[in-house]
């Protein structure tokens, strides 16, 4: 900084002096801001993890950012934005199995399976696979995308989730903000916001490549939700519920974005 020794005599600064002065100010500011950036980065690196709850495993500020970013990008969501579909010949013959979380118990018996829909209080609706298969079938061949980064063109068949909800008079319940799905053993679970649930390409699938779904792919009934990453495409649906707050979500508890929408 210039030193105001004698204010009365305001001699113009020499070039040398000007250079020194501007160097001092600019490099001072440069290092101060740089130091601030380093301090800010350290703060973020050392920020505590969020309190485990519906979401968990992320640093608290990063979780706040994920949630805010979700709100921004949900503005772009539209039922008119559909995932690209392909001819059946393009579909993979061997569909990739990436995880068996929630469906790896040996004593599961497909024949005794019924979908339990919680309709409020202690009441629930129990729906058999034949009732579901009796509904109009929808098929989709699309590029299934995993949060890990891989993708595969797959062919699924089942009932549109919105048709299912209409048919079983669940549309009133489905006006709630979220749907929760869990495997029968409750070890894998996802939460989905209403818009994605009602998206026209979201289906409850019981067929893959024109054949019944195999056990590793979630027989007898699984979710196929092309507007979400694979982690939301729950296999072997056991329980369906509706709520206005976020239902628990397996991967959101482990640091992943709750929304995970595409």
């Amino acid at each position: 900084m210039e030193q105001p020794i004698k204010k009365k005599v305001k001699a113009p600064l020499s070039v040398e002096h000007k250079i020194k002065r501007r160097n001092f100010i600019s490099f001072g500011a440069f290092f101060a801001l740089g130091g601030g950036a380093v301090a800010g980065w350290k703060w973020l690196l050392n920020a505590p993890e969020e309190t485990p709850g519906i979401t968990g495993g992320a640093k608290a500020p990063l979780r706040r950012a994920l949630n805010k970013t979700e709100l921004f990008f949900r503005n772009f969501f539209s039922n008119n934005h559909t995932v690209k579909t392909y001819p059946k010949e393009r579909a993979a013959k061997t569909i990739r199995i990436n995880s068996l979380i929630g469906i790896d118990d040996d004593d599961f018996d497909e024949k005794n399976w019924k979908l339990e829909v919680k309709t409020g209080g202690l009441q629930s609706l129990r729906i058999g696979i034949d009732e579901i298969k009796a509904l109009p079938k929808t098929e989709i061949v699309f590029d299934f995308k995993c949060v890990e980064g891989w993708d595969q063109i797959q062919h699924w068949g089942g009932v549109k989730l919105s048709d299912f909800l209409n048919h079983f008079k669940l549309d009133e319940l489905a006006t709630k903000n979220y749907m929760g799905l869990e495997t029968p053993n409750g070890e894998y679970y996802v939460g989905l916001e209403r818009d994605s649930v009602l998206h026209p390409q979201t289906i409850l699938a019981y067929e893959m490549n024109g054949q019944p779904i195999t056990i590793e792919h979630g027989a007898p009934l699984r979710l196929i939700i092309p507007v979400k990453y694979g982690i939301k495409n729950l296999k072997r649906i056991g329980v369906m519920s509706f709520s206005n707050s976020r239902p628990r979500d397996y991967w959101a508890e482990q640091g992943y974005d709750y929304y995970s929408g595409l």
């Binding site: 772009f76 934005h81 980064g149």
Partner: protein, 233 residues
């Protein structure tokens, strides 16, 4: 006699220095994401020559098993990257600074001469203003690359909502490849840039912090420019 010559506007300096750490965080967190599906390498006739990335690289930088964390960082710092870049572009357009930046017709021919000069093959260099021909091309390219990263990034981030962007990028796969290649481009740019800045010297470096350069002889402004600032890249 010394003279102060204004060179870089405050906004250019600000966005330059903000971009450096932000891009570093984006590349770092991007590696966490890439690790989860590290599909790329360079192969010829079935032999892989370069695999992105070798195991020791991942381990050295503690990359494995951090996908969720990587995404969380990436989707926060993408905002800073985008806003900072947008600020620079808006400033450059409205201030008229683009005139000094965008390559001219002659730039592509001249850039070759600049390269030869920088490699000490050619002694002289074409007369130039703030940026030489090679710099014009490089610095414009880096902005275009930044725009490319945002577009391809959005295309793989929301391929359904921004399906038209995904289409524009040649599909989901190709968008991811471009997004990755651009990152490799930044890293190469960074190394060349740093070497050039070191070679160009203190006066040039200072101008990106304090905004001005010192010219030693006012009468020989043009010659000074050529010899002093010719090599910054």
């Amino acid at each position: 006699m010394k003279e102060i010559k204004e060179k870089h506007a405050f906004l250019m300096r600000w966005t330059h220095w903000v971009n450096f750490p932000v891009l570093a965080v984006m590349i770092w967190s991007g590696l966490f994401i890439y690790w989860a599906n590290d599909a790329y390498g360079i192969s010829l006739f079935g032999v892989t020559y370069i695999k992105f990335f070798p195991e020791w690289f991942y381990n050295y930088f503690h990359i494995p098993q951090r996908l969720a964390e990587g995404m969380a960082y990436h989707f926060l710092f993408m905002w800073f990257f985008f806003i900072n870049g947008l600020l620079y572009i808006i400033y450059t357009i409205f201030s008229g600074a683009w005139r000094e930046l965008i390559p001219q017709k002659k730039s592509f021919k001249e850039a070759w001469l600049v390269l030869l000069h920088d490699l000490h093959i050619r002694k002289t260099i074409p007369p130039q203003n703030k940026y030489n021909a090679a710099q014009r091309i490089a610095y414009t390219a880096i902005i275009v690359m930044g725009i490319g990263s945002v577009i391809t990034g959005l295309a793989i981030y929301k391929p359904v909502q921004f399906y038209w962007l995904c289409l524009l990028c040649g599909g989901y796969h190709f968008a991811r490849i471009i997004h990755f290649a651009l990152t490799i481009g930044y890293v190469l740019f960074f190394f060349i840039h740093v070497v050039q800045v070191i070679l160009a010297g203190w006066n040039n470096f200072r101008s990106v912090v304090s905004g001005f350069e010192v010219i030693k002889n006012a009468e020989k402004v043009n010659d000074e420019k050529i010899t002093e600032h010719g090599t910054a890249d």
